[in-house]
Symmetry: C2
Subunit: 335 residues, 2 copies
Amino acid sequence: MAVTIKDVAKLAEVSISTVSRVINESKPVSPEARRRVQHAIETLGYEPNEVARSLVTKKSNLIGVIVDDIGNHYVSQIVRGIEEIGRMYNYDIIVSSSYGNADTELKFLQLLKTKQVEGIILVSEIINQGVVDYMKKTKLEFMYLNRYYNVPELPTIALDNKKAVKMMMDYLIELGHKKILYLSQETNSDNTIEIEKIEAYKESMRSIGEDPILVQINNHRVDGGYKIGREIVQIKEEKGVTAVFCCQDELAIGLMNYLYDNGINVPNDISVSGHGDINVASIYRPTLTTTKEPYYDMGAISIRKMLKKLIGEPINDEEIVLPIRLIKRESCKNI
Amino acid sequence: MAVTIKDVAKLAEVSISTVSRVINESKPVSPEARRRVQHAIETLGYEPNEVARSLVTKKSNLIGVIVDDIGNHYVSQIVRGIEEIGRMYNYDIIVSSSYGNADTELKFLQLLKTKQVEGIILVSEIINQGVVDYMKKTKLEFMYLNRYYNVPELPTIALDNKKAVKMMMDYLIELGHKKILYLSQETNSDNTIEIEKIEAYKESMRSIGEDPILVQINNHRVDGGYKIGREIVQIKEEKGVTAVFCCQDELAIGLMNYLYDNGINVPNDISVSGHGDINVASIYRPTLTTTKEPYYDMGAISIRKMLKKLIGEPINDEEIVLPIRLIKRESCKNI
DNA sequence: ATGAAAGCGCTAACAG
DNA sequence: CTGTTAGCGCTTTCAT
């Protein structure tokens, strides 16, 4: 059996309350008693039982984090941010990967609640009405981080995606491109973030008097970009496309792979750009021009907001707008 | 206040013991009582408090996972394996990133223990005597997964690194290479895994009557491979090196970046191979020839072993030797 | 089959 | 400043 507060009290010849007091520095304790208690703790190697503590204080110092897949690089960056800031406030995180399954997300939500987490951060790629409903009726702190959907009913950290698209389009146009193809993903729901990105793209094209050249795909992974390569090359030939702007870096990388494998040189034969700035973006050759989504910061800010609410710190409700940065690299060149 | 077992008991007009019994199916309960309890649980939306439960059962169903950096791809793959298998046994994981700091690792170890985790898996890149000492005197389940060091005193999942090196060398030799440079990392301690890899490399070189061409570096990241590029190219010129075998994929990618940026073509001008098969290895162009380290499996197996011990399942002590596979890709060609 | 009661390890009034 | 006491929500004897 592990050593408990009782053992410490006995050895130090004080009451357990006194021991509790020196552990938590919750109330003044005489120097003498404190010394004895500390000595007892040392010799016994006492470590407080946080579970017991949680039970009475109702504070678990635990945040539940449900993610799509921790193996995804951008996800792990968000988690990194969450964890690092959580640590500063003495919070630990329990992570679970749902692999995009709505039922799993909901199951984890309930599970985490039984574990008495004080808040939950959901990093998802799907829209899950079950979660929305569940969270609305429970008073748990919550944050919905979704890369693809806007979730208006629940707190989230939003990015100015329209602006990101505009910045990229302006840059491409500045490089002399006119026939710019936008590789997007299918918009299967009204609150898809892609809808506003597509809108921004079309607007840019209109502003230079060009017709939009839009290709949509239902796979936003690297292999999706690869598979659509053939079609893109075909359109390039037909319409004289000089630049492909992909709605996600993964697609851009996959596309560049296809182009490489088929002897088409980026950026000499065609320019390619992405969105996100995942880690391979700067490692791949040619390096990928993209707009940076501040994943780490998204995680950091979401938990900071949550924790501030939890510990009752004044929370400045001024919407923090995360800056979007254009990262110019090798994959796009002037024409 | 959340609804407790008491509320359920009251509504169902039974004692809390009975409620507990139906929740846990620990003892027979009359159909009638069971029905009433279940109904009460439904209407109240009761969810058991796992913290309270843990306190009495001494089972937290929590495993602590301390990693170097969750943002590292190979680390996140290990965590994925841990999490997915843990889930099957109804275990959750608490993850913390130590960023390679020994004191932090130890601090987390203690912290996790106070949280009553039932076991700890440490995914580290350093050797930490403090951890070894601490774990030897506590009875917590433990698993030490280290990519760079052998940790003889504590349970771990080892890979046959010598064999991996031999396989790669055999392949390179088969392709006609003789002047093979091995880019290794500095071996600052006796139990560095690199020592046996270097040994295996030297043996291979000896077997074809060549002198080893060894370069050591103290940075095993992508940028390390990039920075050493200049030196490698120089040695290539001097000694007629035709292939560079890097002790980690990250180094190989960095090196290929340097070569690309300096107009040296892989694999036409020089072959490059790695070790690990991190995700970029197959995404990068040219794709990287490497030996696969089964990260996901390492995580999965380590927690499975731990959980079996925890739930008292018979554990087959036959050393599971994880298979090492040679992945032939584009970065190496015959000469 | 069921209830009463003890207790897991700890915190937080409450007295003194 | 310190000890006593009452729980936190739950499981688990021990009777009945």
